[in-house]
Symmetry: C2
Subunit: 237 residues, 2 copies
């Protein structure tokens, strides 16, 4: 088989109740981190060749969304290395989604994301699953949705990010954490492993393994694997 | 330190002659593979917070570029899971670039990429480095640039892709291959490892390690590591 070949639609994993989610929404905002968005979307795009799923890219407006930080001080060397991506829908006109994905990035520190944060609080009760990547969990923490929940976040930015969620039970050593229908991952590339585990949860190990093989990606399958917690000196890790 | 902190500009790795490349061009075409583009760009975007580098996104026209395959038969389940990205320059008006990057994806099989392939042949003599990801090496092979060179490509699509380069010395088992100033990687996520190795080549191991730690990414540092070669039954692997 090759990347071209389509397999039969995977069946739900044992114990996984149908119907499986068909609609995914990725939240975008200025200063998002590239791999937080496109690592998970790669894994899901391969899944999309094996079963019907749809993706919406959601932001406050339909303007192009750049990874460029709002403040020039966050781009000390005056680099211009900022791909832009276009939303498909505004938050106000977003279709119903079953899986909401929230990436991280420098932009999560922006003081101008109140509408987005409000939208997360309003939308969470309507989705089947919420996945956050990296400091995306801090954005969701600001919305109150993580209160009383176990969650993790980026390890290099641990101290500043966890402040946004004083009522969250932050897990200092974890590649990802699952609490109910909320999946939170550690920094950047951890989003790929969390997404692969999410795919395994929905479609079983064989499908997740095959998707990883197509991506030539060696998964971390242990949610407790986290050398970066120690590398970045996360307290109590 | 956190993802916000800027380090002093890294110095060239020992034995690495200055000046280091400052301008990177990523080639885009319909049906490119998401992670082929955004995995390497993530690593380089972190580098861009530590030294000045610029990125150009290049395509035949300035129209948005979708990952959607040209032929509906390549999207058997009628999914709509296709983020679009916008080029910054057309190939005809591309600024001078020092590092050319060519991703792979289903679109490399398109019969309508002759202008792009011609542009690769014409541009290669002017760049310092050429990096390909996944089946991007097949696109470059079509241009003749890989003739007589050692190179690798996606392992799941090995048989069909290597046909595009009958005069290429294809390496069946490799995470990535370096031949002169041409770096070719294996499938999809291998592009991240090849890019990290390229950063190490230019800026030394400490900088590459720190960038990987910021990405919370466990690198494969051995170019010969390639379990996928066997998994996909690549002949003579």
């Amino acid at each position: 088989m090759s990347e071209l070949t389509s397999s039969p639609t995977p069946t739900p994993a044992p114990g996984q109740a149908a119907p499986l989610p068909k609609t995914y929404g990725m939240l975008l905002f200025r200063g998002y981190e590239l791999l937080d968005v496109f690592g998970p979307l790669e894994a899901l795009a391969v899944l999309a060749r094996r079963t019907k799923i749809d993706l919406y890219m959601l932001a406050e407006t339909l303007d192009p969304v750049t990874t460029e930080p709002l403040m020039p001080s966050m781009n000390s060397f005056n680099s211009s290395f900022f791909p832009t991506v276009y939303p498909t829908h505004t938050l106000a006109n977003a279709p119903d989604i079953e899986v909401l994905m929230v990436p991280g990035g420098i932009g999560t520190r922006s003081p101008f994301l109140n509408d987005t944060i409000g939208w997360i609080a309003e939308t969470y009760p309507k989705v089947q699953y919420l996945l956050t990547i990296c400091t995306g969990s801090a954005l969701v923490a600001k919305s109150g949705v993580l209160d009383g929940r176990r969650a993790t976040t980026n390890k290099a930015s641990w101290s500043s990010m966890t402040l946004y969620g004083p009522n969250v039970e932050w897990v200092p050593k974890a590649r990802w954490v699952v609490d109910g229908n909320i999946w939170t991952s550690s920094g950047v590339s951890a989003g790929i492993d969390a997404t692969m585990a999410f795919i395994e949860h929905l479609y079983g190990e064989d499908n997740a393994t095959e998707i990883a093989n197509i991506m030539e990606y060696e998964r971390h399958t242990d949610p407790d694997w986290d050398p970066f917690s120690e590398i970045w000196g996360v307290p109590s890790a």
